[in-house]
């Protein structure tokens, strides 16, 4: 089989993954892929635990140490089976707090602390980089096997080149599907689906090789067992310490690895998926490991002395001339490596961008949270940059380490690094007394011990730590020998590192927590994490302050996107019983908003950004009361009462609003009559005066013609006024007959713009349109809708006030409705006037300039109501902005 064919197959497979991911993303976007959110996909996505280390390395491990390899799977099995203890709570907290990564979880729990997030991110990167390098190595090594079998011997430069191309491909895939949008929930349907597919491929590949080995190369189950008993690993002399220790390490790593946290917590859709995975995933692991021992034993038997047991999965089928099977097996290994790298990269990139890049960028912005421009593009850019940076790190590690040592060794070193966050996570979820000081101290100590006793020595003798230091400690201090801390030597180096790093980490964490005093925010978060099942209402993080809702809206739009942010604000306003886009700034609203933002940039950054807008915000005594145990209990009992009083508060708010409106209406009624009187008398004054002048016949001909013209114009003005009044009264009483027909939006806008007297050459008001979006037809009354457009456009022309007035029309197709925003670049309308402008005769400036009686927007509102749509003022857009929403089809 030619090597080029293998490359072709691999590329074809990669292309398939791209297509699958793309289709899944598209379907998820349209919201019609129920299977995407199925427990099966969730379970399969967890299989990124089984990396190339598992696929190739488990067999190698089995060939060296016998059954010990299985411990790596037993740990996760116990964690999954015991989901009711730990994972369930983790997932609940993850959802309730909208956690984006493991660093975010810890930072959020310990007072939304940025330094702590940075620390966890650093640990994750140090631990994951060798692991990513390991995956690259396994892919290029397996390629080298094929190159070798087709007669090309690969040198170092070939390996490096292949690793580079694989890294570039992975970066491309991850950027393409991992940073598509700054999804509020950080869900990546495309990637998860591709990974599920890869999970199936790797399982089938390993099982296929296993079946071939057991029934094709050996005589069946009985013979295989006999072969195991006859092999060099037949003797059962397992060290109990390593057996139990490895089960512990793998169990801990299963929950602490950033990539596992990503698929297990962040991508989780509902608890029932976890429940299914609690038995389905152990089953998957069982199937993955069932044939490992047979393959290892047969490999030891059949393959020549000195061949690499890590590659038996490939070399066995090749040696039996089963090239198809070997290629399938290669794809299995390829799947294992790529899926791990993709998810690990996403998880790390999220951490790096949310906890390092964005905070730095934010603090470099002098304007603070109200900066101009779209922050989303910055965050996405930061994430893309981080993805490339993580992969570059992995590639560099691969280059410098030279890919020498056995696969499994790096894997365990990496695992031990990652589990340093375990005490902090357990403390975060189960112990309200855990504090930031304790967590930081524990993490730092754990990280240091791990680096000193395991990570640095793993580079090999004399690479970083000299042999003399290994033998007699730094500066001759025997107590600090890397593999015999406190003078207790003679242990397995891995167990030694796990024992000392975990126990001292946990000890310092507890001591630090006991002897430090948490900040109020830490205590609040602690209560919310530990009591996640009881806490539904949530504690209060902010006291109300004068921060304008509009400022928050402006900031949120830049993070969440305009549509999403407006939806959040509108829903919040509706919940408070208000209409429009600006809810009252209540503590509940702030907390909800903070979580929405946390879903995009992490809790610490979201908290800081809102903090910039609410400078007076602080935690009140009342809030602190909620932290205390007694208060929490009382709150629990009175939760029903509270719900009732919330209801009353809401009703009261509605009543207050209705009352305000009624009072305003009665004032308006008086004003309305007086306005009509004024509007009628003014033109009549001119008419009377000039007709008397004409009667007196003292004027010359030119004057007479001019005065007759004035009389004519003023009567027209009167007629217009009466028409408007009648129109409005008809609309208000529902006596209007609509002539609905199908018409294209573009045509409607063209008509409206020319009727509003806007020149195509852009003199006066310049209109920016989005022609590609206007290509849509709707069923409506064209004359009436056009009347609304004309009104809004000519209003912009009259009142914009900018030196170079511009009006942008933005069209959005919402499926059932069409949304057309008209945004000008003028000064906009002040908040107190925003509710007034749709009332009759509500002209904000002098009326000569307006040329109308101030009925235009009132008529627009009535028309849109008749058309089953709406027109509203959209705050926070820079200039004055009006949003017209109209159904695409006739509802009747």
């Amino acid at each position: 089989m030619s090597f080029n064919l293998l490359i072709f197959v691999a590329l074809l497979y990669a292309a398939l993954l791209f297509v699958v991911a793309f289709i899944a993303d598209q379907r998820a976007k349209l919201g019609r892929a129920r299977w995407l959110g199925s427990p099966a996909i969730y379970t399969l996505s967890l299989s990124i635990y089984c990396t190339a280390w598992t696929f190739y390395g488990a067999v190698g491990n089995a060939a060296r140490n016998g059954l010990e390899f299985v411990t790596i799977y037993l740990g996760p099995t116990l964690v999954m089976v015991g989901w009711w203890w730990f994972l369930r709570k983790l997932v609940w907290v993850g959802r309730a707090q909208r956690v984006t990564s493991i660093a975010d979880l810890i930072s959020s729990r310990f007072g939304k602390s940025t330094p702590l997030g940075v620390l966890v991110t650093v640990i994750a990167i140090i631990a994951a980089t060798p692991y990513i390098a390991l995956q690259l190595q396994s892919v290029v090594q397996s390629l080298a096997v094929f190159a070798d079998s087709s007669g090309e011997a690969w040198g170092n430069s070939d390996l490096n080149r292949a690793a580079l191309w694989v890294s570039i491909g992975l970066a491309l895939f991850t950027i393409l599907f991992g940073t598509r949008n700054l999804d509020a929930n950080e869900k990546h349907h495309g990637i998860v689906t591709a990974i599920a597919l890869e999970a199936i491929v790797k399982l089938c590949a390993l099982v296929a090789v296993g079946v071939f080995v057991v029934w094709g190369m050996t005589g069946g189950v009985r013979d295989t067992l006999a072969l195991i008993d006859a092999s060099p690993i037949s003797e059962w002399e397992q060290s109990g310490g390593r057996w139990a220790g490895l089960i512990f390490v793998s169990a801990a790593a299963f929950v602490c690895l950033p990539r596992m946290f990503q698929v297990m917590v962040v991508e989780n859709e509902q608890e029932s998926h976890l429940a299914t995975a609690s038995w389905a995933f152990p089953l998957y692991l069982l199937a993955m490991s069932l044939f490992v021992l047979p393959i290892a034993v047969v490999g030891l038997e059949v393959m020549p002395e000195g061949s690499n047991p890590d590659l038996f999965v490939l070399t066995l089928p090749l040696s039996a001339s089963q090239e198809g099977l070997a290629v399938f097996s290669f794809l299995g290994g390829f799947s294992s490596a790529t899926s791990m790298v993709i998810v690990a990269t996403i998880a790390l990139a999220t951490m790096v961008s949310n906890h390092i890049v964005v905070p730095i960028w934010l603090s470099s912005q002098r304007e603070g949270a109200l900066m101009s421009g779209d922050v989303r593009s910055v965050v996405i850019g930061a994430r893309r940059f981080s993805i490339v940076a993580v992969l570059v790190l992995g590639y560099l590690y691969f280059r410098t380490s030279g890919g020498g040592s056995a696969l499994a060794a790096i894997g365990l070193v990496s695992f031990t690094g990652a589990i340093q966050v375990l005490p902090a996570i357990i403390g975060a979820l189960f112990w309200r007394g855990a504090t930031r000081v304790g967590a930081s101290a524990g993490l730092t100590v754990g990280l240091a011990i791990w680096a000193w006793t395991l990570f640095l020595p793993s580079f090999g003798p004399n690479a970083i730590i000299t042999e003399s230091v290994m033998a007699s400690g730094p500066f001759g201090i025997e107590w600090l020998r890397p593999q015999a801390l406190f003078g207790i030597g003679g242990q397995d180096p891995l167990l030694h590192a796990v024992f000392w790093s975990m126990s001292l980490n946990a000890l310092i964490f507890v001591i630090g927590s006991v002897f430090s005093f948490p900040t109020p925010l830490e205590r609040l978060q602690g209560a919310q994490f530990v009591n996640v099942f009881e806490n539904t209402g949530g504690a209060r993080n902010w006291t109300p302050s004068a921060a304008a809702s509009e400022d928050l809206l402006i900031m949120s739009q830049r993070l969440l996107g305009a549509t999403e942010a407006q939806k959040v604000f509108q829903q919040a306003a509706e919940k408070q019983g208000k209409t429009g886009y600006l809810p009252d700034v209540t503590p509940e609203f702030i907390q909800q908003l903070e979580r929405e933002l946390a879903g995009s940039v992490g809790a610490a950054t979201a908290h800081a950004m809102i903090g910039q807008l609410l400078p007076g915000a602080s935690i009140s005594v009342e809030d602190l009361m909620a932290v205390a145990d007694e208060a929490a209990q009382i709150m629990e009992y009175s939760s029903r009462l509270e719900a009732k009083s919330r209801e009353q508060e809401r009703t009261a708010r509605q009543l207050r609003q209705a009352n305000e409106k009624l009072t305003a209406l009665s004032v308006q009624k008086d004003a309305f009559l007086s306005q009509i009187s004024h509007e009628l008398r003014t033109p009549m004054t001119s008419i009377r005066a000039f007709s008397e002048i004409l009667q007196d016949e003292n004027a010359d001909d030119a004057q007479r013609i001019r005065y007759a013209g004035i009389i004519h114009n003023e009567t027209m003005r009167l007629t217009r006024l009466l028409d408007d009044l009648l129109d409005l009264s008809f609309l208000e009483n529902g006596q209007v007959v609509l002539n609905k027909r199908r018409i294209s939006l573009r045509k409607l806008l063209n008509q409206a713009i020319s009727s509003a007297g806007i020149n195509a050459d852009g003199a006066g008001l310049k209109i920016n349109r989005t022609p590609q979006d206007e290509d849509v037809s709707l069923t409506t009354d064209p004359d009436r809708l056009s009347q609304v457009f004309i009104n809004l456009i000519s209003n912009a022309a009259k009142y914009c006030g900018a030196d170079a007035p511009e009006l942008s029309s933005i069209v959005r197709n919402l499926g059932a409705d069409l949304q057309i925003d008209f945004v000008d670049n003028g000064e906009g309308i002040s908040v107190e006037n925003q509710t007034m402008i749709f009332e009759k005769f509500s002209r904000l400036t002098d009326h000569r300039k307006a040329g109308g009686a101030g009925l235009g927007l009132a008529i627009c509102r009535e028309i849109m109501q008749r058309l089953d749509g709406s027109v509203s003022y959209l705050p926070g857009q820079g200039g004055a902005a009006f949003r017209v929403t109209v159904p695409l089809s006739d509802p009747e």
Binding site: V81, W92, E235, W236, Q270, W279, L290
Partner: protein
């Protein structure tokens, strides 16, 4: 898990459910202990019990754990909603 007669006391259902939840909490502990059993095979009869026996034992415990976990999942999940509200299943007890 199906009751033949209509339950007289509604509390019985939830009582049973709670005990099953307890059982599912015990499961990982029992599993962990079971996985340690082969460690005690050291000593006199090393030749009797080899790696293949340990493998059979471990995989045996493993499959039992999977089955028990699958059995316990459904009944324990009744009345619980996921953090998103989740879907509610029909009562199968």
């Amino acid at each position: 898990m199906a009751d033949k007669k209509a339950p007289i006391f509604l509390a019985r259902k939830s009582y049973q459910r709670r005990r099953l939840r307890d059982a599912s909490r015990v499961l990982p502990i029992a599993g962990g202990i079971a996985f340690m059993i082969p460690l005690m095979w050291h000593g006199d009869d090393v030749t009797e019990r080899g790696t293949s026996d340990a493998m059979m034992f471990v995989f045996g415990v493993w499959i039992v754990l999977v089955l028990l976990a699958a059995l316990l999942v459904r009944p324990t999940r009744e009345e619980d909603e996921g953090p998103t509200g989740g879907e509610k299943e029909q009562d199968v007890l």
